[in-house]
């Protein structure tokens, strides 16, 4: 079955990205389609929508969305995309996303592009859209059943979780080395903790960069990209399976911000534009302060970032700022707080601008254990994020939870 993805867009054909969009869709077994509208319907649709943009192409987008909302055009998913830095289009893009979600059950993702479109990000979005369409029932699963295992083979750490009847009964993590060896190690430790034999395991789900290798090796029932799996794990851990939420994962090398609705992702940004906006920056700061990164959070919580202002976010020049600040005799606590604040502010400026942050905010991943960073994210967003227990295990938990749906 070819999945039909309805494209609502402005600017793609004049940014040299339309071909890339169609190519990405084709590569995941989908096809881009445009809901037909009659010119005569456009004004009515805009009036009904209530936002009247100056650009006619945006009006056309609204009319096409109305066709979908009224069930006059048959599509399986919706892709809303407009030029990056266009304010008018950004407003329409986001409000149309909401309109589609309120009026249809179609999965929707949004994207703002430049001519330097990031093909891999686009592909992940298309892949997630197709997953959401083809595995709708599986993604609706809110309880884990039986005995299942989830393995998350990430770029910096590998994690495994054993679950039984909707409870985590075993878990372990290790820095990633050889994909299979790292996974085998954490899996055995998690099984031992759970008091479970491998033969008792009914299903395995793998995710993360090494998911395909591990899927083959362990004969996994579920092999799936981390976007949908992590979302599922995060809302399960935070007990926020219904309604909207934003999941923030500041990684060692890349960051993800995912918005979800009923546990299913509808938009995300993923980036590693700058090392200054990552866990790596905090590691470097810890090293300079001669403390373990695990101590940085508590230290930051005792400080005030305003006392150690940094003029640069960069991992090179930012660290230089820290050195200068320390030289001026500032307190370590304030410097630690400033480092956390700098990362949070950068994530906010570079990534969260591209999505519509929805409450509650759930912060996950290894860096969510650095409490000072969570404080800083909360300060920047105006609301302290929820950090669920076992927040570093979202991918593994999502894998165990979803694979139990395939029993």
């Amino acid at each position: 079955m070819t999945i039909k993805i309805a494209q609502l867009s402005c600017g793609t054909e004049y940014s040299s990205v339309q071909y890339e969009i169609e190519k990405a869709a084709r590569s995941v077994g989908a096809k881009i389609v445009y809901p037909d509208v009659s010119a005569a319907d456009i004004d009515d649709a805009v009036r009904r929508f209530g936002f009247n943009p100056r650009s006619p192409q945006l009006k056309l987008m609204i009319a096409r969305a109305a066709q979908l909302a009224d069930g006059k055009y048959d599509a399986d998913a919706v892709f809303i995309t407009t030029c990056f830095r266009c304010a008018e289009a950004a407003l329409v893009r986001n409000e149309l996303r909401r309109f589609i979600q309120e009026n249809t059950r179609l999965p929707v993702v949004t994207y703002s592009f430049t001519e330097r479109l990031k093909a891999s990000q686009l592909l992940t979005r298309m892949e997630a859209l197709v997953t959401i369409v083809t595995r709708k029932e599986l993604l609706a699963r809110e309880r884990q059943t039986g005995i299942t295992v989830g393995i998350d083979s990430g770029s910096s750490t590998t994690k495994a979780v054993v679950m039984e009847n909707n409870k985590i009964i075993g878990k372990d993590w290790t820095p990633s080395g050889d994909v299979v060896a790292s996974a085998t190690l954490v899996l055995n430790n998690a099984l031992e903790m759970a008091g479970i034999e491998m033969k008792q395991v009914e299903a395995i789900g793998t995710t993360g960069y090494g998911r395909f290798t591990l899927g083959d090796h362990f004969n996994a029932k579920l092999v799936q990209e981390e976007l949908t799996v992590n979302s599922k794990g995060a809302v399960w851990l935070a007990d926020k399976q219904r309604g909207e939420a934003t999941i923030i994962d500041i990684g060692g090398m890349d960051n993800k911000a995912i918005t979800v609705r009923d546990g299913v992702p509808d938009n995300f940004t993923m980036g590693g534009i700058c090392a200054g906006a990552s866990g790596r920056f905090l590691e470097m700061t810890s090293k300079r302060l001669k403390i373990e990164v695990t101590q940085l959070g508590a230290l930051a919580d005792q400080g005030n970032w305003r006392n150690a202002k940094m003029n640069s976010y960069c991992s090179v020049f930012g660290i230089q700022d820290l050195v200068t600040t320390l030289g001026e005799g500032k307190r370590f606590e304030d410097v630690a707080a400033a480092a956390c604040h700098s990362v949070a502010e950068q994530v906010y400026e570079q990534q969260l601008q591209e999505i519509d942050v929805r409450r509650p905010i759930i912060q996950v991943g290894g860096t969510s254990l650095i409490s000072g960073l969570v404080t800083a994210v909360g300060e920047v967003l105006g609301e302290r994020p929820i950090v669920p227990p076992d927040s570093q295990y979202i991918g593994a938990v999502g894998g165990a939870l979803l694979s139990s749906g395939l029993l």
Binding site: E13, K31, I32, V33, Y34, D36, S38, A39, A40, L60
Partner: protein
């Protein structure tokens, strides 16, 4: 402009009695080596530029004011443009709107042929305040 290939839309004004089918048969009857494709608004004609322009002028001999034309960037049936492949591209709505306007343009052309000229409208001035006052008082 490319001398190699030219693809043109021939669009019939909604005021005309000519049908796309009649137009296509007429173009076929010229016996030219061009691709002719009937559409809802008229037809697409594709061939070497000179040939396409020749066909246009022959059509205009019979229907001077009711067949309009413009070039199309993409060749006939190009999957990137073809509506059947994925639904309409954004420019389709523009064509639809312009098609309606052709009715008035046809009227304009016909009247000009009969000698109509543009006359600048009389300059509109505000009435003097005393005149306005008088009108108000009468009311």
């Amino acid at each position: 402009m490319s001398q190699e290939r030219e693809t043109r839309l021939f669009m019939i004004s909604p005021r005309s009695m000519l049908t796309p089918d009649q137009l296509v048969r007429m173009v076929h009857a010229f016996g030219a080596a061009a691709i002719v494709k009937e559409t809802c608004y008229g037809c697409l004609v594709e061939g070497p530029r000179e040939l396409v322009l020749d066909i246009l002028s022959k059509v205009r001999e019979t229907y001077p004011n009711e067949v309009f034309s413009k070039v199309r960037a993409y060749p006939c049936s190009d999957p990137r443009r073809c509506r059947a492949q994925h639904g309409t591209r954004p420019g389709y709505a523009q064509l639809e709107e312009e098609w309606e306007l052709l009715s008035r343009i046809q009227y304009g052309l016909e009247n000009i042929e009969r000698g109509a000229k543009y006359e600048a409208p009389a300059e509109r001035k505000r009435i003097p305040v005393n005149d306005f006052k008088r009108i108000c008082e009468v009311q």
